[in-house]
Amino acid sequence: MILDVDIRHRQGGFALDACFQSDGRLTALFGPSGSGKTTIVNAVSGLVRPDHGRIAVQGRVLVDTKNDIVVPKHKRRIGYVFQEGRLFPHLDVRYNLLFGRWFTPRGERKASFDHVVDLLGIAHLLDRRPSTLSGGEKQRVAIGRALLADPHLLLMDEPLASLDEARKAEIYPYIERLRDEGGVPIVLVSHSVAEIARLATSVVVLSEGQVIASGPAAEVLRHTGFFAQSGLTEAGALIEARVSRHDEAYDLTVLQARAGTLSVPSLLHPVGTSLRVCLRARDIILSLKAPEGMSALNVLPGLISSIDIGEGASVDVQLDCGGDPVVARVTRKSVEELGLRPGVAVHAIIKSIAFDPEALGVTGGENM
């Protein structure tokens, strides 16, 4: 078990009672503002000492109030990207970045300074003081500082909230690599379901200090209901696919999943790479017949396995497309008009363009 948390903690009028396990290499904490995400992350990092309970990371017990074990924070080797930056004002960016390195045993200094600096686009800031940085620049330096401490666990509290999409798109693959190759498990607090869908292997959903759902990302995300309160339509199915060829004429890449082939805007990954693909429920159109003369390139035939009628106009139709689970979110009206019900054969239509970089993540092969 990578992360094993079972804590109770009071903060003024707020009571946290969180119990979850995660063996995901990237655990996303999701929940509305004030639901206790930062408190959990603080407890794991050692900034908050929980009133009761136990926290273990990769089998190492960090807190066990019953046995009076509380590992001091500097011995936890946990890289923490704070929600509010917390850069050292008296050090320039370079020394902020190198701070954790001073305290990392020489043999464990793996992260490459130049690489991290490059990735985060902060090379031109190295000699500046934090007070002269813009909001997003500060956040990038904070990410770099945590990464360069070569932590055994990385806690990221909304690290990308103030970054633009272009920058995010550059950082996502790095986080994926950390997750898959570096062997550094990550806990990510995020409000963005798209981000979670792309990055998380496990998801913990919090509400008012309680865990209301937790489990592998693919499972939690399929139940769009958890996210209904968030007014979100980013949820959907996560399926695994493999790069089968590159169509250079049209700048497309063709992926092979169990459900069928998918054409997506060209990717740099070599043929054979395993990818996780998020098929957002809201992007999928269902059709009784195979469509013709349409711009949508991806058509996945499947059978309706179940229909979850929720509140409001929308209905989640669960399909089985050659073994891959797919969810389509359509209107109740369409369900009635088309006579959709379990067992009916349909075609799931998805535009290639819908696969923006956020929807496609690299996977180590067994990350779902």
Partner: protein, 230 residues
């Protein structure tokens, strides 16, 4: 106004030495005690606080008198230090430095305490998560952040040492070349007819030195501030 006599120069040099040593020597204990008082929760904290403030509350002569009783050659601490470490304060310039250090100590400690209270502890927490042992956190985060307070404390301590008179003359007398600092020399001038000129002359020297010290401290503080806020 004529220049200074050789004796007066001696007093000026001695005063500078005494003030500098007093300031420097009280720095480390000052930071430590400020830290204890501001952050510590221990039994006797209140008593320590009162003790640190005493030199301010008591007339300097009384402090000098306590010093004489405690650190004199016949005093318990003085005798002990002399016997075991060969450190002698009585009627030496070191005694003048001790008196000045003690008189300036409450000022130094207060300034540093104020700075410590203003440190954003979340930064110290951040340093902790990056693997820094509390001692290191103090050294590389807290200490640089409280530098302005340390500088202010040093200025106060130095200035106080330049002006300290009552405790010093009571403790180590006013022996030219050994313990006669500028204030003792000024005092001697004020005690005799026609001494006003000499007193004014030395007063001016004191003012000039303090201008220099203040200028230096402001320059340092600006550098530090630029480091922290620029």
């Amino acid at each position: 106004m004529e220049g200074l006599s050789p004796e007066e120069w001696t007093a000026v040099r001695l005063s500078l030495k005494v003030a500098f040593v007093a300031m420097t020597a009280s720095l480390v204990p000052g930071v430590a005690i400020a830290f204890l008082l501001e952050r510590g929760r221990f039994w006797g904290r209140q008593a320590l606080d009162v003790l640190v403030h005493l030199p301010l509350v008591l007339p300097p002569v009384v402090v000098g008198w306590f010093l004489l009783i405690g650190f004199g050659r016949r005093g318990p601490i003085g005798a002990f230090l002399d016997e075991h470490f060969g450190i002698v304060f009585s009627f030496r310039w070191t005694g003048a430095a001790l008196a000045c250090a003690i008189m300036g100590f409450p000022l130094l400690v207060r300034a540093i305490r104020l700075s410590i209270a203003a440190v954003d502890r979340r930064l110290e927490d951040a340093a902790g998560t990056l693997g820094a042992h509390p001692v290191w956190v103090f050294g590389v985060v807290t200490l640089p952040l409280i530098l302005p307070g340390i500088i202010a404390g040093m200025v106060l301590s130095f200035a106080k040492a330049m002006g300290e008179f009552g405790a010093t003359i009571t403790f180590v007398s006013s022996i030219p070349g050994e313990t006669q600092t500028i204030p003792s020399a000024i005092y001697a001038y004020t005690q005799v007819p026609g001494g006003e000129g000499g007193a004014m002359r030395l007063t001016l020297v004191s003012i000039v030195i303090s201008i220099g010290a203040l200028w230096l401290s402001e320059w340092l503080a600006r550098r530090v501030r630029r480091k922290v806020h620029a």
